[in-house]
Amino acid sequence: MVSRKFTTTACAAALAALSFNAQAQISGGSVKIGVLTDLSGTYSDLAGSGAVLATRMAIDDFIANEKPGFKVEMVTADHQNKADIASNKAREWIERENVDTVTELVTTSTALAVMKVAKEKDRLVIMNGPAATPITNEQCNDVSIHYTYDTYALANGTAKAVTAQGGKSWFFLTADYAFGHALEKDSAAVVTANGGKVVGTVRHPFPGSDFSSFLLKAQASGAQVIGLANAGADTTNAIKQAAEFGITPKQSLAGLLMFITDVHALGLKPTQGMFLTTGYYWDRTDETRAWSKRFFEKQKKMPTMVQAGQYSSIYHYLKAVKATGTDDTTKVMAMMKKTPINDFFAKNGQIRDDGRMVHDMYLVQVKKPADSKYPWDYYTIKATIPAAEAFQPLAQSRCPLIKK
């Protein structure tokens, strides 16, 4: 009679042999995911520790559900929104610590810098936080994935909807740097294409703090809509001050890049009625509610689209590694592009050849304080923008990888 101990040991040995086989293809013996984000600065609320938590959840859920034969590790770092820190850290992670993929990367300048390092060293980059379209156009490469959103989708969502709803004359308040310019350009194009008119723009220094003079210009222009082509504190300050100067509600504000954390910081009074485009709202379906509540338990804040996207993208990545049995960049990338994404974050999401993950986006409107029944009950979903419409068509892509 074979003793129980022997059986257990034999099984363990067999399993080890099997997993050793899988591990032999995984460099360094484990899959290492680097989360490079803003942990303490302007964007730490919309990404930051929440993105780290989302990654942790994805890894734990993956191991629990899929029972892979390999180990998964996570390292995190704060790039402080600085391209040089991000680039340096990514380089160090890849050269010294065998990190297989660098992820998150809120703040376009950090994303662009790391994309270059990753291409040089042949590692994957999975971006959720950064916004600007050059990531999948002029600066595209074949090791990068731009997952959650971009300025085109935002412009196409918000600007289009607002113009269609009757906001025909626009005035832009733009953060005076590449991201702001891109957001303004994309939005202006959408406005004009939909029968609207841009009556003026004003650029404010980045970061700004007092927008009264710029807002007064916007007011003097008489435009129906003031498009806020900025983000973070700039947006929230501008909104506050517009209310103060009696600019709203006579003229309406379009927050071209806003997150639920911004609405939470400002409160519903100054933001009510604003349109914005998002890739995720926690209260949309039962699935999103379930996942978001789990997130909320640990983070004490509802997740932004960046954080939800981070979970989804990491899970998708790990599934691809398991399916291919390796962490080799080219093979995993091919698998990630081949496999559609179907989870609480996206249905029939697809990663295109330019690295762009296309999925449905949602046009939402911020609720009036009276209509908000419970904490974080901030949005009414006005429309779903299907994936094919939301993102820049491949035919218009300026990415050198796309052959026309």
Binding site: S40, G41, T42, S44, D45, D176, V202, R203, H204, P205, P207, S209, D210, S212, S213, F214, L216, K217, A220, G232, A233, T236, N237, K240, Q241, E244, F245, G246, T261, D262, A265, L266, G267
Partner: protein, 293 residues
């Protein structure tokens, strides 16, 4: 009607907004000028102290339900006491050394305060409601002026000119001025000069905190609000003449107006026009516009 192609209404409103910003510059540079003029210390943590004033007001409101009006007095007091501690425990040791050490110490303190608040509160910024009595606005014809902003101008002018009066026209001010020029003589006359100096630093810091409370409903209360502002305020003080009380008030207001004008014609340069002026002034009139060499 248009001037230089800009409608007068827009010009008028921009100048008024510039005056509001100028009020902040005036209070902050007044505090700096007092501290430098009377103590010869460049208080690099002035911006951090301004930020702390705003945060004390915010914490008082959200955690303890203490309203704006009480905070206007309480925050400057509390932050002023912190200032007193700084002076007593640290600055005091540096008076005999090169002035640059005072600058470096306060620079280090600014880093500490900002880092702590950043760690505790993040950077998204906290919202502070305009107090009930000051909500709403007044239609001036060429613009809609929020009452609160009008209040800021009034409050700053009162505080600034009140301080000026105290320093230039009262006995206390006379002691302060004499004390820094010849402390031994003044002490021999029975005045406690070290105490005066401590009070002066505390008062300068309190002014910064007062400006912070005034700023809270206008700007988002966030740990970086001071460091963005402080460099500009330094330039203001240097332009005005580093020891001149009236100079800093007038220059602060004046520069607010200049910035407002720049925003109308060439907005991107509005963050740098102060420095250009500073360089020009220093070349042409090194002691500053109102300074005495």
């Amino acid at each position: 009607m248009e001037i230089f192609g800009i409608p007068t209404a827009l010009l008028g409103s921009q100048l008024l907004v510039g005056l509001i910003n100028g009020s902040f510059y005036a209070i902050l540079s007044l505090g700096l000028a007092i501290i430098f003029g009377l103590l010869n210390i460049i208080n690099f943590c002035h911006g951090a102290q301004y930020m702390m004033g705003a945060f004390v007001a915010w914490i008082a409101l959200t955690r303890f339900g203490i309203n704006y009006w009480v905070a206007l007095i309480a925050a400057p007091l509390i932050v002023g006491i912190v200032g007193v501690l700084i002076e007593r425990l640290m600055l005091r040791r540096l008076y005999k050394l090169d002035h640059l050490y005072g600058l470096l110490l306060t620079f280090g303190l600014a880093l500490i305060f900002e880092g702590i608040f950043r760690d505790q509160f993040g950077i998204s910024g906290e919202s502070y409601e305009v107090p009930e009595a000051l909500t709403g606005g007044v239609n001036l014809g060429f613009m809609f002026l929020p009452i609160y902003r009008g209040w800021v101008i009034v409050a700053s002018l009162i505080v600034c000119f009140g301080t000026w009066y105290m320093i230039e026209r009262t006995k206390l001010g006379a002691y302060l001025r004499a004390g820094t020029e010849n402390s031994q003589m003044v002490q021999a006359l029975g005045i406690n000069v070290p105490l005066l100096i401590t009070f002066t630093y505390g008062y300068g810091v309190a002014l910064a905190a007062f400006a912070g409370v005034l700023a809270a409903p206008i700007f988002q209360v966030n740990p970086l609000m001071g460091s963005n502002l402080i460099i500009v305020v330094f330039a203001v003080v240097v332009i005005g003449g580093m020891g001149s009380i009236m100079g800093s008030i007038l220059t602060g207001l004046g520069l607010g107006l200049v910035e407002g004008m720049t925003k109308v014609f060439y907005p991107e340069a509005s963050s740098v026009v102060v420095f250009v002026i500073m360089v020009i002034v220093l070349l042409v009139r090194p002691a500053g516009l109102f300074g005495k060499s």
